[in-house]
């Protein structure tokens, strides 16, 4: 399935999806509260069947926080990138997809650890790389650590 057909199929699943131009993969921006339903639909859909989440990235855009899902279909071998954004920097929360893609369990813990984005309904949301007593979320752009980060 080429990107144009993929676009149409996705629009039929989620009409509010916004497509980005000039990107390596077909990139969609969707509202943060719809990610769980959307992921479930595109995985279970017979025609597109995105069953492999190969990269899950947290990102700090400065004014908002985002999560990027790189998805692939092992059956049809097409790929999309799904992006969600949340402007809440104090208590950001999105729905987990770890009941759909099991690999998300660890990757969401990592994003929670490094960006502080909470994933609702995650079975075991704890810090994974840093110590439990660590303060702050280091990969955020406004993170300050005067001891360990040496600016040059």
């Amino acid at each position: 399935m080429n990107n144009e057909e993929l676009k149409q199929t996705i629009l039929s699943i989620l009409p509010s999806a916004v497509f980005e131009e000039n990107t390596q993969f077909l990139t969609i921006q969707i509202p943060a509260d719809q990610i769980h339903d959307f992921a479930k639909k595109i995985k279970e859909s017979e025609t597109i069947s995105f069953d492999y989440l190969f990269c899950l990235t947290g990102i700090d855009y400065g004014d908002s926080l985002g999560v990027i899902y790189h998805l692939r279909s092992t059956k049809y071998r097409h790929e999309i990138v799904v992006k969600i954004k949340t402007s809440d920097r104090e208590t950001p929360a999105v729905d987990t997809v770890c009941d759909i893609y099991k690999t998300a369990e660890f990757h969401e813990r990592e994003i929670f650890d490094l960006f502080g984005i909470k994933f609702n309904h995650h079975p075991d949301l704890r810090r994974i790389l840093l110590d439990e007593s660590w303060e702050g979320h280091p990969l955020r752009k406004d993170y300050i650590d005067e001891v360990n980060i040496v600016e040059r």
Binding site: F54, C55, T57, I59, K102, T103, F106, H107, P138, L139
Partner: protein, 371 residues
């Protein structure tokens, strides 16, 4: 009395395997709840050598990132470097010389063989056959010598650079590689005699730690761990980079999904890697060893993703550039991190000794998990 027995039955016998333990291959901590010898639950605790490489990369230029990707999965250092280099080249639209592609393919495959050799010897050691360890390291030494002569380093080489290579290959390179292939083709059957055919080893690995195809895809278990379950995830076939679309090689797939299948995938991959090298080593074209690059690389604004097939699976780099000489966000999709998450699915119900064998067959490199 029965109350007491019931109470004891309900208590969990919890053991910390690691962070200092011979078979976790580094500083990984596994919290096991046991019932006798049987593992009921395993919970990995990682992050003991988290160095914040993704954060550090945000303050480094693209050339400087290379020396950090070496330190992720140090056993497939060249392949990780290739991911960043390919990403930068793709973003800038640079076509690297043909010679570079040949050399990169050969060195990537040598890295894969060296990594699988180390995996083989440590897997043998996990099963208790210490002799494997020395045979594997002895043969890996030949590859490290080839690397040392050409790149100047043995483990952490930083040989690739965006646009090409640091230096041209050493004049002895081709001869040494051919000698090594000749030598290793003779030695590899010995590995089979010592360990693969061994009845104890087969009894300890067949049917142990079964990972179904659905789970492999859902967990994103790639590399030999995924291909042992029949998950066709070889990036070299799916998204060819370097010269992988021009050479003949098989994607090794086994359907069983157990420890032995993962073992066989790696053993067969060593043969495949050797055949890839043999196809290329005599045909390296003359030419430059690097494309013309500006001293300061600035990626155009945008998002880039590049994946390569590291020795342990799909290694991906995601870079968001805002047009500066530094990346805005770097994310490394490390194969081991995903492979680690399958542990709690395939281990419960197996014995402690099986956990060690499964851990050996998944072949963790802890710095790659912790980053």
């Amino acid at each position: 009395m029965t109350d007491l027995i019931q109470e004891i039955e309900q208590q969990e016998y919890i053991i910390n395997m690691g962070p200092q333990h011979p078979s976790t291959h580094g500083v990984l901590r596994l919290v096991l709840s046991l019932k006798g010898e049987i593992v009921k639950n395993v919970e990995p605790h990682c992050g003991y050598i988290h160095r914040g490489i993704e954060k550090m990369c945000e303050k480094l230029t693209y050339q400087q990132i290379i020396h950090l990707t070496d330190r992720l999965d140090y056993l497939s250092a060249h392949i990780n470097n290739a991911a960043v280099c390919l990403l930068v080249e793709k973003a800038l639209g640079i076509e690297v010389p043909e010679r570079v592609k040949y050399i990169r393919t050969i060195i990537d495959e040598l890295t894969r063989i060296a990594s699988h050799q180390l995996w083989w010897c440590s897997f043998g050691m996990d099963l208790g056959g210490l002799t494997c360890f020395f045979y594997g390291l002895r043969d890996r030494e030949h590859i490290l010598d080839i690397f040392e002569e050409t790149t100047g380093g043995r483990l952490i080489q930083s040989y690739y650079t965006p646009g090409g290579l640091m230096k041209d290959i050493h004049p002895n390179f081709q001869k040494r590689v051919k000698d090594f292939i000749k030598y290793f083709r003779k030695i590899l059957p010995e590995y089979d005699q010592l360990l693969t055919g061994n009845v104890i080893m087969q009894a300890r690995s067949k049917g142990i730690g079964k990972l179904s195809l659905e789970d492999a895809i859902s967990f994103g278990a790639t590399g030999p761990s995924g291909r042992g379950s029949g998950f066709a995830c070889d990036v070299r076939k799916l998204h060819p980079y370097h010269l992988y679309d021009k050479v003949n090689f098989k994607e090794i797939l086994y359907q069983e999904g157990d420890t032995f299948a993962r073992y066989k995938v790696r053993m067969d991959e060593m043969w495949e890697s050797m055949s890839i090298i043999e196809q290329l080593i005599d045909n390296i074209p003359e030419g430059d060893f690097t494309a013309k690059m500006k001293p300061i690389i600035k990626l155009p604004e945008g998002e880039y993703y590049q994946r390569v097939e590291a020795a342990r699976g799909e290694f991906g780099v995601y870079i968001l550039s805002k047009g500066d000489k530094y990346p805005y966000r770097v994310k490394f999709r490390s194969p081991n991190f995903s492979n680690l998450s399958i542990l709690n699915t395939i281990v419960p119900g197996q014995k402690i000794a099986d956990l060690v064998a499964i851990g050996g067959s998944l072949d963790y490199v802890i710095p790659d998990i912790d980053r």
